[in-house]
């Protein structure tokens, strides 16, 4: 019947699409184990490119930069974003439309405009004041700028989901304003803080365009290094780095699947 052929056709379409989606990644992974440095054919399996990776000082520096950048920016963004997320919640009855626009601005701006604006700004600022040479400092500033909205929105929605009388209960039970923050608010939003940090971290590690335009000569991150290597000519080491990064994503995907399954189970237990 027509319906069955449609279903078969769609199923085939689905599998073809999956191949399409994973083929480039699969090839990268495959060739990272290539014994030779040919980009066209596999001659055998070997881990030589991974060994070379570890010995490559530039790559190790880039990796270090990536981590430092991600951690520093995520921490700063967490603090600022948490404050603003709470402020948005506490004063949500006011007309804060302008604030919402401001918060969404970094998310909405095309990343090339973002990167170039930052670059232009930092260059001129440096010319005028001698401060803020392009480097990890400028990159951290730029990353924090696009991380703040995500943290703010995650924290805001966590607060919105809370029973508002909980705040009053804390006041009623003798908690001073400082103690309310330390013993009530922060512990309650802990899961949101963790996921906001995780998201900021991922966004930072993954970013290329903005990092590229705000980087200095010594502050290349992994994506920047990879870009440079690609432009200079194909080096098989890139396959190895790329495979490691793809592996990290796969692990993150698996963890997120496990978490959502766990959430579903615990929610079922509650009801």
């Amino acid at each position: 019947m027509r319906k069955r052929t449609l279903k078969r056709g769609l199923t085939a379409f689905w599998w073809i699409t999956l191949v399409f989606l994973y083929l480039p990644l699969a090839v990268v992974v495959l060739f990272s184990f290539n014994a030779s440095n040919s980009a066209a054919s596999m001659t055998g399996l070997s881990l030589r490119w991974y060994h070379q990776l570890l010995g490559n000082e530039q790559i190790m520096t880039a990796f270090g930069n990536t981590l430092v950048l991600a951690i520093c920016s995520s921490v700063i963004a967490l603090v600022i974003g948490c404050l603003i997320g709470y402020g948005m919640y506490r004063h949500r009855h006011r007309k804060l439309g302008w604030l919402i626009v401001l918060i969404y601005l970094p998310i909405v701006l095309p990343d090339i405009v973002f990167g170039i604006s930052e670059m232009a700004f930092f260059v001129q600022f440096h010319r005028l004041t001698g401060l803020l040479q392009p480097g990890l400092g400028t990159m951290i500033i730029a990353h924090v700028t696009f991380q703040i909205p995500f943290v703010a929105l995650i924290v805001y929605s966590r607060f919105v989901g809370l029973d508002p009388t909980l705040f009053e209960a804390a006041k009623d039970l003798y908690a001073t304003p400082v103690k309310r923050v330390v013993h009530f608010m922060l512990p309650t939003i802990k899961p949101a803080l963790i996921s906001a940090f995780f998201l900021s971290f991922t966004l930072s590690v993954d970013d290329f365009v903005i990092s590229f335009f705000t980087a200095g000569p010594e502050s290349a991150t992994l994506p920047i290094y990879i870009w440079g290597a690609i432009k200079k000519g194909v080096s098989p080491e890139i396959n190895a780095i790329a495979t490691l990064m793809i592996g990290a994503v796969a692990i993150a995907a698996a963890i997120s699947l496990l978490f959502s399954r766990k959430n579903q189970h615990s929610r079922k237990r509650q009801s």
């Binding site: 029973d163 009388t165 909980l166 009053e168 209960a169 804390a170 006041k171 009623d172 039970l173 003798y174 908690a175 001073t176 103690k179 013993h183 009530f184 512990p187 309650t188 802990k190 509650q270």
Partner: protein
């Protein structure tokens, strides 16, 4: 009727179990100062038009179970929140235990609240919830443990203390919320409709338990509810509120049997309110007939509670005898409710089932009311 029997049985059983513990508790606890509350001219407005409280004066005695009763929007919750410090009055004075607390923030007042939604902290265990107030006050860990154990015994929480919040039922949460408020030994306990989310059986059970706790502790309880039955069962005194004003304050019996106005009369129970056309001393000419009162009368309306009325078969002449026809009958086992048409007006009567024949729809009956059961009141 069955609810009351249940309540009495529960109390008796609990009392028997608790005699031994009670003595030890009282000795260990000492007499914690229960405080009186004085409110003068409390005013609260939300925005330009919403007046929640329009100048409230109230005196609550130390150690009494006091209820704020009224329909939703009458201001009772606002008043409670002002007592807790969660809301700031626009104007007026408030003293608790003689101390002026109008400017004191909630975390500095020796007042604790049991919230309608229980407001148990989800990120803490039951034990940690109970200890929260003590921890905030700087009580050392060992002392906290001891007090938590004491309150758990007092409220009979049993093994609930080891559970997580999301494992608890509504009734269990309510008792934890109560325990959490009591463990801090406040001068006054405030309860914001704590039983309204529970089903009827659980409600009556917890009403008794709350009452028992209050009597044992001798603590001042201020209770908010919109349920007049609940208020009458539990309170030493009731304040009926409407529209930001106090309508009447008094013991349940007084508020029910001698309401001062039509609102209180209708709110406290089924009415039978009639307009007085002409007054001749204690002789009232009303829309339902001529009635003879006991003593003086004031006000434009007369009230007859359905349960004070007698039904005689047929049409009988006599003072305060009102002939009519039964239009509706609701049989409720222990009693029956009747709607009777008298002089084109409806009257409700409730008659206890004494095993004798009850009248039917269409029967002609005469309603008899005793002069002392008539109450006059204003609009």
């Amino acid at each position: 009727m069955t609810d009351l029997t249940n309540a009495v049985n529960t109390t008796e059983r609990l009392d028997r179990e608790e005699t031994r513990v009670a003595a030890a508790d009282a000795a260990a606890r000492g007499k914690r100062g229960a405080s009186s509350i004085r409110m003068q001219g409390l005013r609260k407005q939300f925005g330009r038009d919403a007046i929640a409280l329009a100048g409230v004066d109230l005196d609550i005695h130390a150690g009494e179970f006091f209820t704020l009763l009224g329909p939703s929007g009458c201001g009772k919750t606002t008043l409670l929140r002002i007592l807790a410090g969660l809301e700031e009055a626009d104007d007026g004075q408030l003293t608790i235990g003689g101390k002026d607390v109008i400017d004191t923030p909630p975390h500095q007042r020796s007042v604790n609240t049991v919230f309608q939604s229980y407001a148990l902290f989800p990120h803490l265990s039951v034990r940690e919830n109970l200890a929260f107030g003590l921890k905030m006050r700087g009580v050392a860990a060992k002392a906290r443990e001891a007090k938590v154990a004491e309150i758990a015994r007092f409220i009979q929480l049993g093994d609930l203390v080891d559970r997580r919040i999301d494992q608890l039922s509504g009734g269990q949460r309510q008792r934890i919320a109560l325990a959490r408020a009591l463990v801090c030994e406040p001068d006054v306990l405030l309860l914001d409709e704590p039983l309204s989310a529970l089903d009827a059986g659980l409600r009556s059970q917890l009403q008794v338990e709350l009452l028992r706790v209050q009597k044992r502790l001798g603590m001042t309880f201020v209770f908010v509810t919109h349920d007049q039955d609940e208020a009458m069962v539990m309170s030493d005194r009731i304040a009926v509120l409407d529209d930001g004003h106090i309508q009447q304050v008094g013991p349940p019996q007084e508020v029910y049997e001698r309401p001062v106005n039509a609102f209180v009369a209708r709110f406290m129970g089924h009415g039978n309110l009639y307009r007085i056309h002409r007054r001749d001393g204690s002789r009232l000419s009303t829309e339902i007939g001529t009635l003879q009162m006991d003593g003086d009368s004031q006000g434009e309306l007369v009230l007859m509670r359905p349960e004070t009325l007698d039904l005689k078969p047929g049409h009988v002449e006599g003072p305060n005898h009102l002939p009519g026809t039964i239009t509706e009958r609701l049989y409720r086992g222990s009693h029956a409710e009747f709607r009777i048409n008298i002089a084109d007006t409806t009257l409700q009567a409730t008659v206890n089932n004494r095993g004798r024949r009850l009248p039917n729809v269409g029967d002609e009956v005469t309603v008899v009311v005793a002069p002392e059961d008539l109450v006059t009141l204003s609009e």
